[in-house]
Amino acid sequence: MTDFKMTRRKALGMALATAGAMMTSPAWAEVDFSGKTIEWIIPFSAGGGSDTWARFNAPLLSKYLPGQPTVVVVNEPGGGSTKGANLFAVRAKPDGLTLLGTSGSTQFPYLLGDPRVKYEYKDWKIAMAAPTGGVVYTSPSTGVETVADLAKLKDQKLTYASQGATSLDLVPLLGFKLMGLDVQHVFGFKGRGDGRLAFERGETNIDYQTSSAYIKNVLPLVEAGQAVPLFSWGVLDEAGNIVRDPNFPDIPSFPEAYEMLTGMAPEGDDYDAFVAFFIAGFPAQKMAILPKDTPDDIVAAFNVAFETMKQDPEYLANKQAVLGSYEQVTGGKAEGLFEMGTTISPQNRKNVVDMLGAHYGVKLGE
């Protein structure tokens, strides 16, 4: 983890240095997208979270890239995003004219070794990463009134509305298991919003929502006494540790809640496996990716564009609704997240895949 800190700082410094150098040096002129069209491949249908995220960024990217190219969002859905990512891996040329927007749903099959995955993250260059966070809450019918009653959950049967064992809901699945909670995962939900509805109907008694959905839709329930916040998944600090989410300073993070419940800080292989999926699913959930062998000056041009757009009034006006209170990151910070969000030890991968097979009948492809 200290490695991460060093590389992070170093890389961030380098990125800023290159950015600074490019502002002044003639190298700036070499990357010029004038009159070009950049395709931003989104491997999901229009209207979803990733699509909205890309459509939010696309006009700003167009404004701040050298030469003001047209940036169009191209939806190529299929195979839970593996199809679009596979096509990108085969087709995209390293000229900066094709960008891929991945999500946790693209990272997870890669981490799990899904045979449909024909792409290799390690070949790719990251241009920007957009983090997100989430809060786990429960129903007062469990007898839990505040997070201090967390231990009460241990002796009862909990129900969670899941989108599938290999979906983004793998993070809560691993997290609850790590805590020793007895949670029945009911699959087949279409999204976290669908799951929240099941919670509101009283069909489930534990749920989580991403931060902005939590603030907009669950806080009213908390105020009405119909939901009790437990913990946030947390955010990564400079050293790569999971700490409290600054959006929810009063709610403990997952490691804190774990410690409240067990008396020990979380550690070990199972925790490492959880962390790998957590990072791929939250701090590094959405990534803007450039193809293999993209020259550094093109990557830097994208870095600068994503960095400078943060001051744009349009960005500032709408970022809350799209990104929640999290900042999109570039350069070394993004590279650190990229590295951690796409790496898992073979042993941990095997453990997770075996557990999913044994408990949930998951067969990956074949």
Binding site: G78, G164, F187, G188, G191, D194, R196, N318, V362
Partner: protein, 665 residues
């Protein structure tokens, strides 16, 4: 509340807002006219313009677009028999026969007036209910949603046609096809046969176009004449209005149903037109004409599908849960505008909510008005010699089909399902029954599994479940009494048709087709048995039911007396038999197959251009200049849409060797 309502209205009634709404409506109408393009395409088109617009104008534009798509999609359903979008599939059953009788303008007018009424009805219901809807929507849990799916399936009874066995077997095949891809409970992949394309199942658009549009196009091509077999009858406006007005109660009932189905998140809007159509047949007096051009068969689904959009706004705005694909994009648009749906939409943001509702009503009036003006000129299309129209339609349905996943697999699936559709039409297997099965398969399976997980089997004693169960039972009973067959004829079960002499030889084709269906069911059963219990139980049960129906049907086909109800072969009994100038059954399919094959080799865009030239020259015998102009027009049109939607055409074998520029790559 009344203050907010009026304030919202006056905020909307400025020139700017109305102009933006008109832009939305215009885009929506154009998108709706092109088959296969729905709200998703339209909203993605408008998304880039949302930046910098004020909230009310932007919402008015988005709503304008979403509201009128089910209005204008009626054009292709009525005039060409191609479902304009999944919301207008049922309109084809009666709208198209009306067009063929030269009454296109009448059918369109009735449809547009019904659409407008349904849309306004939806807005009115929304106005009253939006504040109190939250608890009502929360009453529908997984158990109730499962029962609603069953209610939808009960419409098979009324649409099963002469032979109930065929209807139920077709529905079983639909359910089986609908369960392809990942199982909801375990994520196991079913019936993928190692093809990457099938991992997500076959898209609804492809099923709808394959089962309905391809057989219609083939049939029209054989006849070599224009769509309408007689000159247009009068202007049609007044007649259309009377058709709606004399069935106003039907229109109200169907609007109510559409609104409710839209408001319940999870059922999806794709089945609403069939439920409305089935309801019309179940409850109307003298249903003999359904399927032959009964205007009530147009009024019912068109009232329902526009009202549905209003209903679907409820879960979208209140819970942030999109009721349909276009609502998902609308939701994305709201987020881009910095608005987040949630309970605040009926408290602090109530003004926004009401401006959305008012926009909905206004957009429906605008949309229907424009469509009414266009109805008469556009309905002249039915007078054109069909071979000149056919290449446009074939290109259009292929273009529409690959909108689904933008994969060459879409075209192959379209072709396969088209062949199935042609055979089903020939042997009077009810295609609506298969479609309903397909649409409701994921809902039936997912919600049953979830209900059992949440409540155990005791879910059947929940009051909501019992109520919907009784409704379903009533629907089955009414349905059995008034059955409509595939080509729409309402038949009493006892009525026989003539059949040609000879037992085995004349019946062999239909027996072989029934055996093909058996084969399909067996493949599904075998695949299911390789899965774990939770993934297998649904497709296996469905396949067993289907096989039981086939076992009931086969002896009737083989040994039934002459003219038995289950016998039908349009090549023996149909209206084209023995007429002069009728082409072969497979002509249309061969041309479509040629286009698909060429696309697989050289990519869609090049293939489409070649197809146009070949078809117009060889089949339509057009003059060289005419061929050139029509090909250029079509190529330009397709290119324009593709450019606007920033989409890549499916590439073929050649593209993997050659690096061609867009649009050829």
């Amino acid at each position: 509340m009344a203050d907010t309502l009026l304030a919202a209205l006056s905020a909307l009634m400025t020139f700017d807002h109305l102009l933006y709404m008109l832009i939305g409506v215009t885009v929506g109408l154009v998108i709706g006219v092109i088959p296969g393009l729905g709200g998703i395409a339209g909203l993605s088109l408008l998304m880039p313009f949302l930046y910098g617009m004020d909230d009310i104008s932007a919402l008015a534009m988005l709503i304008g677009l979403v509201a009128v798509i089910p209005t204008s999609d009626t054009f292709s359903s009525v005039l060409m028999g191609i479902p304009g979008s999944s919301a207008s599939q049922a309109t084809v059953l009666d709208g198209f026969p009306l067009a063929r009788q030269g009454q296109a303008a009448r059918a369109l007018s009735a449809a547009f007036i019904s659409s407008m009424f349904g849309g306004i009805f939806g807005a009115v219901v929304l106005t009253g209910f939006v504040v109190v809807a939250r608890p009502l929507i929360l009453m529908f849990g997984s158990a109730e949603l499962f029962m609603l799916a069953l209610f939808g399936l009960s419409m098979v009874a009324v649409l099963a046609g002469r032979s109930l066995a065929k209807g139920l077997a077709a529905c079983a095949v639909g359910l089986l096809i609908g369960s392809m891809g990942g199982a909801p409970a375990t994520g196991e992949f079913r019936m993928t046969f190692g093809l990457g394309y099938l991992y997500d199942g076959i898209p609804l658009v492809v099923i709808g176009l394959g089962l309905f549009a391809v057989p219609e196009i083939s049939d029209l091509l054989r006849r070599n004449a224009s769509i309408s077999d007689r000159p247009p009858l009068g202007s049609g406006w007044a007649k259309g209005f009377r058709d709606w007005y004399s069935n106003i109660w039907l229109s109200i009932r169907c609007s109510g149903m559409g609104c409710m189905i839209g408001a319940i998140p999870g059922l999806g809007g794709s089945v609403v037109d069939w439920i409305a159509y089935g309801h019309a047949v179940q409850t109307c007096k003298n249903p003999e004409n359904f399927g032959k051009g009964d205007p009530r068969g147009v009024v019912a689904p068109e009232s329902a599908n526009n009202a549905m959009q209003g209903g679907a706004l409820l879960p979208t705005m209140l819970f942030g849960i999109p009721g349909s694909g276009s609502m998902a994009v609308f939701l994305g648009g709201m987020v881009l505008l910095g608005m987040e749906p949630g309970p605040a939409m009926v408290t602090t943001n109530l003004d926004i909510t009401y401006s959305v509702i008012w926009s909905l009503a206004l957009a429906n009036v605008m949309g229907a008005g424009i469509c009414l003006l266009l109805a008469i000129p556009i309905s002249r299309l039915t007078q054109i010699r069909f071979p000149l129209l056919a290449p446009f339609m074939i290109t259009l349905i292929c273009f529409a089909a690959f909108q689904a996943t933008r994969d060459i697999g879409d075209l192959l699936a379209l072709l396969s399902l088209g062949l199935l559709g042609i055979l089903m039409k020939r042997f009077a297997w009810p295609r609506p029954a298969m479609l309903i099965g397909f649409v409701l398969a994921p809902q039936s399976e997912t919600y049953l599994y979830q209900a059992v997980q949440f409540y155990d089997w005791s879910f059947v004693t929940r009051p909501g479940v019992i109520i919907i169960g009784l409704l379903t039972l009533a629907s089955v009973i009414f349905g059995i009494r008034k059955r409509v067959d595939d080509t729409g004829h309402v038949v009493s079960a006892a009525k026989d048709t003539d059949e040609h002499e000879g037992r085995w030889t004349s019946r062999a084709p239909q027996i072989v087709f029934a055996l093909m269906i058996v084969g399909l069911l067996i493949v599904g059963l075998k695949d299911a048995l390789d899965q774990s219990f939770l993934a297998a139980v649904f497709p296996a049960s469905v396949a067993v039911v289907g096989l039981a129906m086939a076992l009931w049907l086969l002896p009737e086909l083989i040994g039934g007396h002459r003219g038995h109800v289950s016998h039908y072969d349009s090549e023996l009994d149909g209206e084209t038999v023995g007429k002069a100038g009728i082409g072969g059954l497979w002509g249309g399919a061969l041309w479509i197959g040629g286009l698909v094959l060429a696309s697989a080799l050289i990519g869609f865009y090049l293939a489409m251009i070649l197809f146009f030239v070949a078809f117009l020259h060889v089949r339509a015998r057009a003059k060289p200049l005419q061929t050139l102009i029509m090909t250029a027009a079509a190529a330009g049109f397709i290119l324009l849409i593709a450019k606007m939607l920033s989409l890549n055409f499916p590439s073929g074998l050649a593209q993997s060797y050659l690096d061609l520029p867009w649009p050829f790559r």
